[in-house]
């Protein structure tokens, strides 16, 4: 059981809540309080749009412990519209093959369960092919 560590990250996990640097305007995800671009203190909250493009991807056919339930699944590095890249699973993949450059959008999904059936459910960001709005 790892309740506190999941709990403390809930805002960024559920909704891609990051930071914006007040000095150089860089958008920061995950939040780290220190701007990776200019080194200044950056604690201003910034909500990412959740839109991005696939930088790279692979399929996990041999899932690590705790993820077998969802295997096989696709993991991608997604370049967010605002700049930073994030690692996340892709979900709701239809017939269209995944490709580098594919536009994706953030959704909040079950990431894993902390303990078989009894433990807390960890929710967090995943990405799916953009749905026509």
């Amino acid at each position: 059981m790892e309740i506190p560590r999941h709990w403390r990250l809930k805002q960024q996990r559920y909704a891609l809540m990051g930071e914006v640097c007040p000095h150089c305007e860089a958008k920061i995800f995950p939040p780290r309080d220190v701007c990776p671009e200019c080194g200044g203190e950056a604690k201003t909250q910034f909500a990412f749009s959740g839109k991005g493009k696939i930088y790279s991807y692979t399929v996990m056919r041999d899932a690590p412990a705790g993820f077998e339930h969802n295997s096989p699944y696709t993991v991608a590095v997604v370049a967010l519209e605002e700049g930073p890249m994030v690692t996340a699973q892709l979900t709701d993949l239809g017939e269209e093959p995944v490709a580098i450059g594919m536009p994706v959008e953030m959704v909040t999904r079950k990431i894993r369960e902390d303990g078989e059936r009894k433990g807390m459910i960890v929710y967090g960001y995943k990405f799916r092919p953009v749905m026509a709005a």
Partner: protein, 363 residues
């Protein structure tokens, strides 16, 4: 059975719930997961013939549950409402498949959409009318002036025992509504009215995975009695008839029941069909009437009147009388439509279905 006279019998002409402050639907959002199980698949495995009453039903993916689906529907509702999430004073989720037996779905949904911590939150349970009950409560909270906006959600990953008649229809999906001031709304809430009784037509005991039901007992004394009483009371006390409404949405456990109830009440198929999604997504339990309403709002015009009547086993119905405003035109396109979600579909076979719905015993 004779019923005791009550305060309501004494004021039988004033049963409708109306608020001092006028309220309405400020934002709405649907969600349907992308997987579809055709009725023919259930028949292939269990009955060697027939295909049930629906073409196919929607099935949640491996990483989805009532909380994740509620989050997406809520985000769509918030996009249409265009309000700061911190202005919400309640986040309520009605469902009969809350992921936790103890631990609210609402707080997770609230956190995910950026609501403040100064809210009411709690999970509603009343079989398939948990979502509309949350809508009544949200209307009351806003109508009383306790808060400006409240979010009510009806969502389910419905359970049906393998091989049972329910398995053809028990589906995943639902909708979310931001209730707020009538003058900001896409549809004004004229009144609501609820009718309930102790009628054991369908239930699920604690620790049980699948519900039990009274088969044909679920019809006349249960579904039809409550839906029609709620609808008739609403029509009578508003001094209206079915002809005064452009659309009617009824709880839809299958395609037949709402058509029959509608006909009994004087509604034509043209009034009912736009909000009748059961044939293509099945019965989303607490989400069913709410997502029928989003489908209607997706196409309604200013001035249209809509009657929505939910039904929850055990049993009861909530009726809402709505009048669409001119704001609908500008808000509609701000989030994916119900039809967008229905069109996004991946058919699955029964084997994949058993995996997605966690029916495989992993030991």
């Amino acid at each position: 059975m004779t019923e005791k006279p009550s305060v309501h019998e004494m004021h039988a002409d004033q049963l409708l719930l109306r608020t001092d402050r006028k309220t309405g639907i400020v934002g709405y959002g649907a969600y349907v997961p992308r997987y579809r199980l055709p009725g023919t698949e259930v028949a292939r495995v269990w009955t060697d013939g027939g295909s049930g009453t629906v073409k196919e039903k929607s099935v949640a993916g491996l990483d989805e549950d009532v909380i994740t689906m509620s989050i997406e529907a809520a985000r769509n509702a918030m996009l249409r409402a265009g309000i700061d999430p911190c202005e919400l004073r309640a986040v309520w989720v009605g469902s009969e498949s809350h992921p936790y037996a103890v631990k609210p779905s609402g707080t997770i949904v609230a956190e995910a959409i950026g609501a403040s911590h100064n809210i009411q939150s709690g999970d509603w349970e009343f079989a398939c009318k948990a979502g509309s009950e949350a809508m009544v409560a949200a209307t009351a909270l806003v109508g009383s002036g306790m808060g400006k906006y409240a979010l009510a959600i009806g969502m389910d990953t419905a359970q049906g025992k393998p091989g049972d008649a329910l398995e053809y229809t028990a589906a995943s999906g639902g909708a979310a509504y931001v209730i707020g001031p009538a003058d900001e709304s896409v549809a004004k809430i004229e009144a609501s009215y609820s009718y309930v009784s102790d009628t054991p037509d369908f239930w699920r005991r604690p620790e049980q995975k699948y519900p039990e039901h009274g088969q044909r007992f679920t019809g006349e004394p249960a579904y039809f009695k409550h839906i029609e009483t709620a609808a008739r009371t609403m029509l009578e006390q508003l001094g209206r008839t079915a002809a005064d409404y452009t659309y009617a949405v009824f709880h839809q456990p299958n395609p037949k029941f709402p058509m029959k109830a509608g006909a009994d009440l004087g509604f034509t198929p043209e009034q009912i069909k736009p909000g009748l999604l059961a044939p293509v997504i099945g019965n989303t339990y607490a989400g069913a009437s709410l997502i029928g309403l989003t489908a209607v709002l997706d196409i309604a015009k200013a001035g249209d009147r809509i009657l929505m009547v939910s039904y929850g086993s055990g049993a009861g119905s909530d009726a809402f009388s709505l009048e669409v405003t001119e704001k609908i035109a500008e808000r509609r396109a701000l989030a994916p439509s119900t039809a967008d979600y229905i069109a996004r579909r991946t058919p699955i076979d029964y084997a994949v279905y058993t995996r997605l719905r966690d029916k495989i015993d992993m030991g």
